[in-house]
Symmetry: C2
Subunit: 211 residues, 2 copies
């Protein structure tokens, strides 16, 4: 692919699912897959698969389908998974600890630090990383350029710690609080609003007619 | 509202945000709000707000805007927040514990039980609820009708525990594993794929042109 193409958010949101499925596929079976099989595995139609992959200029070979390894590399490239991302977690409470323990399963993301304000948590080791006093955050970021900051603090402190991270060079914020954080336009913000997800579930349970 | 209307998923996904914002509003200020102000608070346009609320037959009063309390009740009703949902967590590891501690902030969801297979976790108290042996799950669900099951187990066990819950009357599954669970059509499944969210973040950071 020479020129970069505009890819819609809805396709972007499906790509991690492709990536995850193709990685499983590579571990387990063959090296080629048809759009029909790929669709069955992912719960999409073959037409949807072909449209999605055509979006970024990737076409299967007629009668042979897609080369799993090539497709994985291509999608990994688009997803930015050709480099390693340094991350820090702000807030070493339950959610922060859960994420710290979860990230070890990821190949592309490296946890560089965990910060908290609570003296009882400072010094604790999670995944071989010591929880550091939040007062050290600015110095840490100056010494260790970091890509992503994960916000797991109580909501009253969420904007403050986000501002501190953005001022010190963080480019992406992964927000686990229910606060709508304000960030400069060039900063990428991804929200995991757990309460909203739960409320969506109850809403759909409440009435199947709202579909 | 007499007859139920079909509301699109994109509106449904926005409603929890409305609900959260209106609850804050009710605590802090006045009892009426214009679509313009509501839009500013939520980051939507006034037109979007009016379209969304018109969807379920709710119209502001010209020049007076919306009655916050009424609107909150109306949206709460659509979201199914007029009743209490009983929930259980399967898997008392990091994510399970984080969720158990998070749910206390919710008004409409009551945690009824936490289950695990690990003898080290069985008997542990989280939010005054004792972790129970997973072997007791079917008996528990027979005695305590439960609405929602939260899946926080390692991925190899995700489908098995889901099947057990569905067989015993659970109507909604909140899935925190990376597995694409299979459930009967009448069961509502809501996924929180943390890895996919993180990969979306890195994708957007990798290139602002993919928008």
């Amino acid at each position: 692919m020479g020129r970069k193409k505009i890819i819609s958010m809805s396709v972007i949101r499906r790509l991690p699912k492709y990536h995850r499925y193709l990685r499983e596929l590579l571990k387990n079976d063959g090296d080629r897959i048809s759009s029909k099989k790929l669709g069955e595995g992912l719960g999409f139609t073959a037409t949807q698969i072909r449209q999605d992959l055509n979006c970024f200029g990737y076409f299967g070979q007629y009668g042979l389908g897609y080369n799993v390894n090539e497709l994985l590399k291509e999608i990994g490239g688009i997803l930015g998974l050709s480099k390693e991302y340094k991350m820090i977690i702000i807030g070493a409470g339950n959610i922060g600890q859960a994420i710290a323990n979860h990230i070890k399963f990821q190949l592309y993301f490296k946890l560089a630090g965990i910060f908290d304000v609570n003296p009882k948590l400072i010094g604790l080791e999670i995944q071989d990383i010591e929880v550091i006093d939040i007062k050290e955050l600015a110095n840490f970021l100056k010494a260790t350029p970091t890509d992503i900051g994960i916000v797991c603090v109580p909501k009253n402190n969420a904007q403050i710690v986000t501002d501190m991270m953005v001022e010190n060079g963080i480019k992406g914020i992964w927000n686990f609080t229910s606060v709508d954080l304000e960030v400069p336009e060039e900063i990428i913000l991804e929200n995991v609003h757990l309460s909203e997800s739960l409320v969506t579930l109850s809403c759909l349970m409440n009435s199947r007619t709202y579909l």
